[in-house]
């Protein structure tokens, strides 16, 4: 009742109606009246500590902070009266007396709230003639610079951001009065997956971007809208450039996706765009030596070689693999070339291992809801996801929803702290994941009085499972989200079908947390094999004579890197369209330099099916060219029809008219057996894809590579498992998977299930190994 009541308030003589509970600041914002402020941030809790937003309120004995003063009915407020202005100017004077006023050498200059507001509210000269405070700088790690903490105005936005948004208090305030300081925990760096946002919300030059600082002034930079090429969220970006070089990346506000935030991966990975490893000229390998050649030489060589293989071994000897981080246009043209050559062997699902669902899908698997809908669910089950690191901002949405009462349940193969208030968490070995999901389904069906398929009739629920089932079946609005590990899982199709069963029992929505920028787009582009084609797994298990690679680093991007590399080595021809040099030089025959997302136009279709086009922000580096153009020419040289495109938009419209997307998104799966797996191997691998190794760009982002998340992988086991093998943490071991092996250090993680060895994928040190969730053996090195 109360909440429905509207309140009338008059601000600067203008009336406005606001909902019950609104603050004066919110009412002013509604009117478009700007009240100066520093500590207030609409996404953070109210601190009311900067006092800059003091306003005059009728009948109040003193000026009140607009940010923290609730509106009462009939309230009259003046934000610009002499009384209000005197208070605001007084606060500004206090803020400036100990501020170093070093704007000319401050990296925040030109985009500093203190600088801006000082123009309006500060004096031209200071009355302050005493000694100024000096605050020691703080080492916060590779991302956030806190070299000039004297500039800090103690607004505590960074502190509140950590506590409330990131879920981890990386910065805090210690000391009293003038000695109050923002510091990190002793010796800890500030590099959670969301830390970079503190740079944005710091209203002064106290926290600045370490990779960017002192490289350019904000007013010298050109700004281009773009879309993140990393995780499936499709965060909106402002790419800032100077002299045809990306200087930094900032969030472009989009309340439906990234809000005003960015993950550190989205923010700092631009360093990889300027990496030394960028491939800038087409190259041919001749006699084992790489030679730089002209584009037409390289392309004609590639076209000729592909045609030769086709005529010698048939089109089926050719396989095409695209990266899920490639654009919709690139993926579409890649499959069009493969099919134009007569091969149906095309795929972009590189880390998928179970393709049993192919042929049984009703459409492109997607989130099953809008990203924003996640926050409105009252119960969630996240299955097989390193949520925080795989989808930092979706984790943030769930974190906020959990605070509002959403019950969050995890079913996973590792117990990493999600920094989310969790109702239930069940950690099982990968091989037990389908069984656990089946048990939840069975228990939920019992609670709901629903029928279960006969395959699940005999399943018994354990206590951990029952708690999750109870939580889910008590919800009104339930969501089941299948994460990256569930998609990589050797029984991914079964998990998919079980999730569908569970959703049916609960009346819930279910969907997939898209791993990459185009995890949905790849399906829409048709970059998946047809009935006669080989999928990504089969193409590598049964090596082809020729591979066409698009933005792929097989040794790091595939489910089974050893098998992938060996297939590449066995092939007669590997044509790689890539932005980077690297291991590809070992097995490729032609290297075609293509432009990363900042240098080409293109489209990503994010996990919720949102089609987001973007233009290049800078010219392609060196002789690199947009991938769609390279593929167009290759298509022409191969004599395939329908490659007459002038603009990338023409490719996009042909691949996937925007109006058709909704109809093509469908998570339903039919005709997949629900028979649960039997015996588990003695030791099985649990492989995460560490956040900063996930794709070719971020792997080359220098600053991110210095963070804690980019440390070389260790092999984790629980204490009992270690003891059972007579091994101890810190010991070096040789891990074997089939013919593949790697030598790594052992560590203990008691949150892992028995029989599991967690060892990350996508890292050079483990690229000699086999499948991410396959059996392995261990021995002391």
């Amino acid at each position: 009742m109360m909440a429905d009541k509207k309140l009338n308030i008059e601000i600067d003589g203008r009336p406005v109606e606001v909902p019950h509970g609104a603050t004066v600041m919110e009412a002013a914002n509604q009117l478009g009246v700007y009240v100066p402020h520093f500590c207030y941030h609409r996404k953070l809790s109210i601190a009311a500590n900067c006092r800059m937003c003091l306003v005059q309120v009728e009948k109040a004995p003193k000026p009140l902070p607009a940010c923290a003063t609730p509106v009462t009915d009939g309230m009259k407020v003046w934000t610009e009266s002499d009384y209000a202005r005197r208070a605001q100017r007084g606060v500004m004077e206090f803020l400036l007396i100990n501020h170093p006023l070093d704007c000319p050498i401050c990296d925040q200059g030109g985009e500093c709230q203190l600088q801006d507001l000082a123009v309006g509210y500060g004096g031209s000269a200071s009355r302050y003639e005493e000694a100024k405070r000096v605050v020691p700088h703080k080492p916060l790690g590779p991302l956030v610079a806190a070299e000039e903490m004297t500039r800090c105005i103690h607004c505590t936005r960074c502190v509140r951001f950590g506590q409330e948004i990131a879920g981890i208090m990386e910065l805090g305030m210690t000391g009293r009065g003038e000695h109050a300081e923002i510091i990190s925990f002793v010796g800890r760096s500030v590099d959670s997956e969301l830390s970079g946002n503190m740079i944005d919300i710091c209203p002064v030059g106290a926290l600045t971007s370490k990779p960017f600082r002192y490289t350019a002034r904000t007013w010298e930079l050109a700004r281009r809208k773009s879309v993140s090429p990393h995780c499936g969220l499709g965060s909106n970006l402002v790419v800032q450039t100077q002299h045809e070089r990306v200087m930094r990346v900032l969030p472009l506000e989009n309340e439906a996706l990234n809000e005003c935030w960015l993950s550190d991966k989205d923010r700092f990975s631009y360093e990889g765009l300027n990496s030394e490893e960028r491939l800038t000229r087409p190259m041919l390998k001749q006699g084992g030596e790489w030679r730089e050649v002209d584009w037409h030489v390289a392309l004609e060589y590639a076209a000729h070689a592909l045609r030769e293989i086709k005529s010698a071994d048939g089109a089926g000897a050719i396989g095409a693999l695209g990266s899920p981080h490639a654009t919709l246009e690139e993926l579409y043209l890649l499959q069009k070339i493969a099919r134009g050559l007569g091969s149906d062997n095309v795929d972009f699902r590189l880390r998928q291992s179970d393709f049993a669902g192919d042929g049984h899908l009703s459409g492109a698997p997607w989130l099953g809801m809008k990203v924003a809908d996640i926050g409105t669910l009252d119960r969630v089950l996240v299955v097989g996801s390193f949520l925080r690191k795989d989808h930092p901002l979706i984790a943030h949405r769930i974190r906020q929803a959990a605070k509002r009462g959403q019950e969050v349940n995890f079913l996973h193969v590792a117990g990493d702290d999600s920094l989310i208030r969790t109702a239930n968490s069940l950690i099982v070995a990968p091989s037990a994941l389908p069984t656990a999901l089946a048990q939840i389904t069975r228990a939920a069906a019992e609670a709901k009085g629903a029928k279960v398929p006969s395959e699940l009739a005999a399943v018994q629920a354990s206590e951990g499972v029952s708690a999750i089932a109870r939580s889910l079946s008590s919800g009104q609005s339930v969501g089941i989200l299948l994460g990256n590990s569930a998609q990589h899982h050797p029984r991914a199709a079964l998990l998919h079908a079980l999730a569908q069963e569970l959703a049916g029992v609960l009346g819930a929505r279910f969907g997939f947390l898209g791993e990459a920028a185009n995890s949905v787009g790849g399906y829409l582009a048709g970059c998946v094999p047809g009935a006669n084609g080989l999928d990504a797994g089969a193409m590598l298990a049964a090596p082809r004579k020729a591979y066409l690679l698009l933005g792929v680093e097989p040794e790091l991007d595939c489910y089974d890197p050893r098998r992938a590399v060996s297939a590449m080595n066995e092939a007669d021809l590997v044509v790689a369209l890539t932005a980077y040099r690297g291991a590809v030089e070992d097995y490729a025959d032609v290297l075609l330099p293509i432009a990363p997302y900042t240098e080409t136009s293109g489209t990503f279709v994010n996990t919720e099916g949102r089609l987001q086009g973007f233009n290049g922000a800078v010219r392609p580096l060196g002789e690199a060219r947009p991938g769609w153009k390279v593929l167009r020419v290759l298509g022409n040289l191969l004599g395939i029809d329908g490659f007459e495109y002038d603009k990338s938009e023409m490719v996009r419209d042909e691949a996937c008219p925007a109006t058709e997307i909704a109809a093509r998104l469908d998570n339903r799966i039919k005709g997949v057996s629900l028979t649960l797996p039997g015996e588990a191997p003695t030791l099985q691998r649990v492989a995460d894809v560490p956040i900063y190794f996930a794709d070719p760009i971020v792997r080359r982002a220098r600053s991110l590579q210095q963070t804690r998340d980019a440390r070389a992988p260790q092999a984790y086991m629980n204490n009992a498992a270690l003891a059972g093998l007579g091994l101890s943490p810190g010991q070096r071991v040789r891990v074997r998977q089939g013919a593949g092996e790697a030598e790594v250090e052992l560590a203990c993680d008691d949150r892992l299930a028995d029989g599991c060895v967690r060892l990350a994928a996508a890292h050079a040190s483990t690229s000699g190994l086999g499948g991410m969730f396959d059996a392995l053996t261990l021995e002391p090195a």
Binding site: I46, A47, A48, N49, C50, R51, M52, L54, P61, K62, P63, P65, A68, P70, A87, G90, V91, E93, F94, L95, I97, N98, R127, Y128, E130, A131, R133, I153, H154, G172, M173, T174, G175, R176, G177, E178, H179, A180
Partner: protein, 451 residues
Amino acid sequence: MNTAHPPFSPDAFGPDAMIMKGIDGMNWRLKDYESRGGYAALRKILAERIPPDAIIAEVKKSALRGRGGAGFPTGLKWSFMPRSFPGQKYMVCNSDEGEPGTFKDRDILRYNPHSVIEGMIIGGYATGASVGYNYVHGEIWDIYEQFEGAIAEARAAGYLGPSILGSDFSFELHAFHGWGAYICGEETALLESLEGKRGQPRFKPPFPASYGLYGKPTTINNTETFAAVPWIVAHGGERFLELGRPNNGGTKIFSVSGNVERPGNYEVRLGTPFATLLEMAGGVTKGRRLKAVIPGGSSMPVLPADVMMKTDMDYDSIAKAGSMLGSGAVIVMDDSTCMVKALERLAYFYYEESCGQCTPCREGTGWLYRMVHRIETGRGRPEDLDALTSIADNIQGHTICALGDAAALPVKSFISHFRDEFLHHIEHKRCAVSVAGGYATNPGATLRAAA
């Protein structure tokens, strides 16, 4: 346990003492308190099943006002606690006595701790709180330990814990000691500290009665306020009121310090003339002339001697005279006191104790101290005085809590009442008082850094 010092006269706190009546320094234990009539009020409440509303009404009638400094009517504060709230409610005692010049709560806890415990139990009964905390100032560790002993006694005797004295009322009390930060005496900073967080005030509203300790409805009263409650319940609000004046019920303990012959705590009826209080404390040291008095603790405006000698010691009279009764710390300054030096010390205190949360206080207190220090050390300028007043104005009323006001008020009152003395420092670079011809200021004195 604090039993080292010898007993003193049972009327040491003055003839009208009520809370401290019959206290001789040794008789703090439960049996002593009971022999003075202690816990009779609680027994009466539980035996007669007096409804909580009736107790609040009685406290309202008594005109008991908060003894911690703000003087807010206690009964009214208790009535703000939501009656029908289904969850946990808390009763918190603020014994974080840190105001310079104030030392009454220390003596109450040391000599008569059970009066506070009984007052808190009654408060819990009246407001429906079943858990209480006493936040004891961090620098009186022995008294905190002694209070723990008193709680243990009360618990053993059945005054604390489940089903008190066989009734259906339960109340548990815990002692908690701070670490000596002045700001933790601010009630919401105290709550933060009690929750284990950094002690800094919360923005209000919401007030503690709706969102207090751990977000639950909470009443916070001063030690002396709680100590007065049993007497009110035992003797009736009317009689308490009659001890003082209308709207200023009861007795009040004044901590008299500074240039007096017998500094100490004196419990007198509210409305007692200042002259009488001064006399109880033995008058001004060595018969010197009274110069100025801060009547309510260091955060209240100073008043000149002539004003003070005409003023009675109660909330309304002192407010009329231009200051505030505050916590009842009477700081007496004779004519040998340099007002610049005195203000420098006060300004330093607030600079040192500002929590640093909000801008005007964090930045302004340091500015005030540095300027006063400059004047004291002979480097002042005539324009400094108006600047000081203006800076104090920019702090006052602009901060989250009252610490900003506390820092501003002494500065403004010292300069307005003793402007000539400040000007003398500025013009002559030496002091006007102390010895004939004044003493030279100390130009080499270094600025004190806040700890």
